[in-house]
């Protein structure tokens, strides 16, 4: 083929790649925390008695789940300024990821909440627990325990989706690699190595989630 592989170029730039990996991890971690918060709020709103509230959340969820993430991202960064809201690339990237994850998390958490047996809630009421106590201990924790694997997968998907935020000039692993490759043209070597880095980050998150699972939910030992 006549192409000479030069992996030495990758090791020379490795500190830049590590910076990129850190930026991706930070962006993803923030998106996961806020996205989960949005998801829990959305799931609660879905259970509300107000038809307007339920409808609004439904519109949000359907709009986000049926459109590409890249389009949502470009809309937030390039489109919103026309309405007066101007965000920096990093702010726009985080907002897009939170909005995106929030929609999927809403559906996932809602499914978990609906799976809580009604008898448990009635038992809580008859014990005199306040509504917020019922929600936190009887509804939310078991719900999260049930859907934790699904949530974890969605979190990892959002982390992988962060690789497109380079299109609005937000810096993370893929963006930094694109810039390096634009200078030395070693596409094969660099993209091969960052594929490995994304894989490592994904496995790291999975290990973290498994640890959180054991730490938080070990009490509910009846889970298969």
């Amino acid at each position: 083929m006549g192409y000479v592989f030069q992996f030495g170029t990758v090791w020379r730039e490795f500190d830049h790649l590590l910076l990129g990996a850190w930026l991706t991890l930070r962006l993803s971690a923030l998106a996961m925390v806020f996205g989960l918060a949005v998801g829990i709020a959305g799931a609660q709103a879905k259970a509300s008695s107000s038809r307007l509230m339920r409808g609004a959340v439904q519109v949000y969820v359907e709009a986000i789940r049926n459109t590409p993430f890249l389009v949502q991202l470009l809309f937030i960064y390039l489109g919103l300024p026309s309405l007066g809201l101007r965000l920096t690339p990093d702010e726009a990237a985080l907002l897009a990821m939170v909005v995106n994850l929030g929609a999927y998390a809403t559906e996932i958490v809602r499914a978990g909440i609906e799976a809580v047996p009604k008898g448990q809630i009635e038992a809580g009421r008859s014990l005199g627990l306040k509504p917020w106590q019922i929600f936190r201990f009887i509804v939310l924790m078991p719900a999260l325990r049930t859907v934790f694997p699904a949530l974890g997968s969605q979190f990892i998907l959002v982390m992988l989706a962060s690789s497109v935020v380079s299109v609005i000039s937000a810096e993370e692993l893929t963006a930094i690699t694109d810039t390096i490759v634009a200078r030395n043209f070693r596409s094969f070597e660099f993209y091969f190595v960052i594929t490995g880095i994304y894989l490592a980050m994904s496995l790291a998150f999975q290990t973290l989630f498994a640890g959180i699972d054991r730490a938080l939910f070990a009490r509910w030992a009846d889970r298969a």
Binding site: Y77, L78, G79, P89, V167, A175, T179, A182, S187
Partner: protein, 269 residues
């Protein structure tokens, strides 16, 4: 795991064989003009996201300075032209992997790029500039302090400004292509955009009122046709071709049509 490692491996091998079979072995680095004539078409990579030099026309065919030069290449070799849209980031990989025969896509001649490809003599002159609205006062690079400057990734403006961005206090923002870079300027997300000499005309047509001007000329550069290193026969033909169309006025006509300027005196090497 239900499917087992054997089936997964088999699928992977089948996929690789399929990809290999779909790509005929036109990877000869010592490509000659005869190879192209024998192939029956010339595959040319052009940029389709930059005003004046390469945009996608309404009929779905690329139009602009570079596509017109590409069509002349096809005319004089005597084969039809197959266009492939390339970007600043992927034009060299596409060329080196054999997916295109040559690059005619605002390809600025630099020694770093010449380590990977061979350039023809210049067929166009441009400049790496920073463009902004008239209200933005910028005369020198020091005036860029604190400003948000958008550039296409890997373009000349990126290569010139990145090494000095930190010490000069420039907030450099790298976009994947020039179109997004200009869009960021129009929507106010950046103060200046890295682009060429004449793009402000297109900007003023699409976003009137701001009077976009070239604020800073970073470097004058020339575009050459890029071919794989070692394709000396093809390179010789292209140099002859460019000399001819400079001489007989065809290149001047293209320059007047797209840049609304007569062709300048281009250096040769």
């Amino acid at each position: 795991m239900r499917y087992g490692i054997g089936r997964l491996l088999g699928l992977a091998i089948a996929l690789l064989l399929g990809i290999a079979a779909a790509n005929p072995a036109h990877r000869a680095t010592a490509q000659t003009v005869d190879d192209i004539i024998k192939k029956g078409k010339v595959v040319i990579g052009v940029n389709t996201t930059t005003p004046i030099f390469g945009l996608m026309g309404k009929d779905g065919q690329p139009e602009g300075y570079d596509p017109d030069v590409a069509r002349l290449v096809g005319k004089y070799i005597g084969v039809p032209v197959e266009f492939v849209s390339v970007t600043g980031a992927n034009r060299i990989p596409y060329l080196l992997s054999g997916q295109i025969d040559m690059v005619i896509a605002l390809f600025g001649i630099t020694p770093e790029r010449a380590l990977q490809v061979s350039f023809s003599i210049p067929y166009a002159v441009e400049a790496a500039t920073l463009v902004g609205p008239a209200s933005r006062q910028v005369k020198t690079i020091d005036d860029l302090k604190g400003l948000r400057v958008g550039v296409p990734r890997g373009a000349m403006q990126d290569l010139i400004l990145t090494p000095i961005a930190q010490e000069k206090g420039i907030n450099l923002m790298r976009f994947d292509d020039e179109a997004t870079d200009l869009q960021a300027l129009i929507s106010g997300q950046t103060d200046l955009a890295g682009t060429g000499l004449l793009v402000n005309r297109t900007l003023n047509r699409n976003d009137p009122g701001k009077d976009y001007q070239v604020k800073l000329v970073l470097r004058e550069l020339h575009f050459g046709i890029g071919v794989r290193r070692g394709a000396t026969d093809l390179l010789q033909w292209l140099n002859t071709f460019i000399y001819t169309i400079k001489n007989d006025g065809e290149l001047d006509a293209i320059s007047r049509k797209w840049r609304e300027l007569p062709l300048e005196n281009l250096p040769v090497f």
